[in-house]
Symmetry: C2
Subunit: 389 residues, 2 copies
């Protein structure tokens, strides 16, 4: 186990009708709130009205900024920073999924910074402060509701960049599983794929002697896989929607990987797929992950055997551990297929001719390596994508 420091102060409010507590939570922080959201769905569902009522009941003053898109844009972030300064808001309330939350984080961090907020995403300097942020989550996937991370796209430079800084954790998040009943099947599946990836990227670690966190992460993977079958069949099953919403938050709040090195190579490789195809992040991950596993499994066969046996309950072949390891990877592929996610580039009409370009971009022109379980250079990334053809 590695030495570590862990702290996560986000207050989690979970359950039915909890969005009606937004006003009280916000009023405990300040008076003027920026309500930040995407488009029409929160209005159509009535969520917007319930939240505004709750804020008004507490005498909150509301400033609004709508229009967040998937892959949230830097230009809207700039607009939000201007607006928050002009209106002197005390806090931000994000109403939506990961994109809205990440956009709100960028606005809240940029609020206190004299330069361009993109400097943070360009790793020129690190944010030390963020406007207090509340979240009402509508899509369980990114885990941004308790994580210290934000991903923003500079649409002019065509750059998508992730930032992690402890000050980016929200002050509170409100999770009502009922808000996810109407999520379309493909968005549900994409979210499940994202949270499963967040868990596996913590699980496939080079750190030894991590007995507790291994088992906690296995518990998470088994639960996501079990419950996925239920929510895909019956979108308004409260119990299963609650489990999936809980999983999306817990798997990314950093409590399950204390003391272990993580490996985010699959997320890095996937970003290049969604950058050139506009495929959903979760669907890109279901293509990358099995290919990554096939390429790296010999680095640590016992770990892949443990994954196969403990997560998928595969009967171990004691004389041929690699067979068991490969059976685990097949089981993961079958799981993705069972929730109608793609597992090959051809399924999203991405030609193998683009592989070299993606491998180059993912490794910043072969100048950096990805991952920690096995360090990957341009050639490795290219080979992994070839396994996904």
């Amino acid at each position: 186990m590695n030495d570590f420091v862990f702290q996560n102060c986000t207050k989690v409010i979970f359950g039915k009708n909890t969005e009606t507590q937004a006003g009280k939570e916000c009023a405990a922080i300040g008076i003027k709130v920026l309500l930040h959201y995407g488009g029409g769905s929160v209005k159509k569902s009535g969520l917007y009205d319930r939240v505004v009522s709750s804020l008004k009941a507490e005498g909150m003053q509301i400033v609004e900024l709508a229009g967040v898109q998937p892959n949230p844009r830097l230009s809207l972030v700039h607009e939000g920073i201007e607006l928050c300064r002009r209106e002197k808001v005390d806090l931000i309330l994000a109403l939506g999924g990961g994109s809205v939350i990440d956009s709100a984080k960028a606005i809240g961090a940029g609020f206190y910074y004299q330069g361009d907020v993109w400097d943070f995403y360009d790793y020129k300097c690190a944010p030390e402060k963020m406007l207090p942020l509340g979240v009402i989550l509508t899509i369980p996937a990114a885990g941004s509701e308790t994580s210290p991370s934000s991903v923003i796209t500079d649409e002019k430079q065509q750059l998508k960049r992730g930032l992690t800084a402890m000050c980016l954790r929200p002050a509170f998040c409100i999770l009502n599983p009922e808000l996810t009943f109407t999520l379309p099947a493909n968005q549900t599946a994409n979210g499940i794929s994202d949270m499963l990836a967040h868990t596996m990227e913590r699980y496939f670690s080079p750190t030894k002697n991590v007995a507790l966190t291994d088992r906690l992460l296995e518990a998470m993977m088994k639960t996501i896989i079990d419950q996925a079958a239920i929510v895909m069949r019956k979108g308004d099953d409260y119990a299963a929607r609650a489990e999936i919403m809980l999983c999306g938050m817990v798997c990314h709040n950093d409590s399950l990987d204390i003391g272990r090195q993580t490996d985010w190579a699959s997320h890095g490789i996937e970003h290049e797929i969604s950058a050139i195809t506009d495929v959903a992040h979760g669907a890109g991950l279901s293509i990358v992950f099995p290919a990554w596993m096939k390429y790296v499994h010999r680095t640590d066969i016992p770990r892949f055997v443990q994954f196969a046996v403990r997560v998928f309950g595969i009967e171990q072949d004691f004389e041929n551990p690699e067979r068991t390891a490969l059976d685990g990877i097949s089981a993961l592929e079958k799981f993705y297929q069972s929730i109608e996610l793609p597992v090959r580039l051809s399924q999203i009409s991405l030609s193998a001719s683009r592989i070299e370009e993606m491998a180059k971009k993912a490794t910043w022109n072969d100048s950096v390596t990805l991952g920690g379980f096995k360090k990957l250079n341009r050639k490795d990334v290219s080979a992994i994508l070839q396994l996904a053809v």
Copy 2:
């Protein structure tokens, strides 16, 4: 799953030599610190000197209060409150196990209260504020390093009372597994029994649809049981000591029982055993728990089958679930015996003639019931203790 609110802001600093960071952490909070500890062991081990050096290096002013005993006393708490007020301390640093931490919590909460701090433990009112508290843990067991709880004994009235209030969570805790290398085997085993009980008391819940937390708690129990065998054989095994220290903290930080009702009946019954015999809390629990299970298992046989199969890997008897349930209880007893803990009252020379008296006290003269998995009255408690004869 039940609705819930969860927040835990304690900063956890884990690893080798981390006690040398105490000065820096304290200096970030204030200037004058009360150093609170038990007796000679922290001086003999050199820990005291290292911590004082670290505090002095940061220019901290140190006030001291030693002498905390197991079952920490109200009189010392009163003395600590006086001292903190007179010296105008900014924070408390607890150096020890659960007793020292719980005593520090009582002092820190009493500091802000005009009446007698015992009022909190007498449930006349609830504390809303505590002096900031830092912890350097030497005994993994009680979980008080991140929990919102404190147990204090009023030696004059011979009352031992537990208090839970969110303001009682420490600001930071420092966990260095090396500090536990010299813990005697019986203290190690008692601590393991306490953390296993904290996990089981969350696991045996009447709440349905708790798939994720069930699996997380099972992960915790399996790890405690696995790693116990190693630390009992080899006290200076860093990897296993680290797992046990991590388990003691995580199992009681309230992250594993979000959304589920818990059942603290076994802790309640055990308090009566240790009150009249002075047996260690962990050794009392290893007697009470199997007896409690034998008495309540018919309330929910599938839950006990799940415990047997998932925690102890027992082959399920599908035609006779109760047999599997009982096999799980036997396996738990054998585990306790394997780390040399008692499983019967006779092993601690406690006569069956005292059972009625204990059952009466545990249920406040039959005026309250204990537990949530199955509500227990005086007669039930008495029957449970009879099963432990």
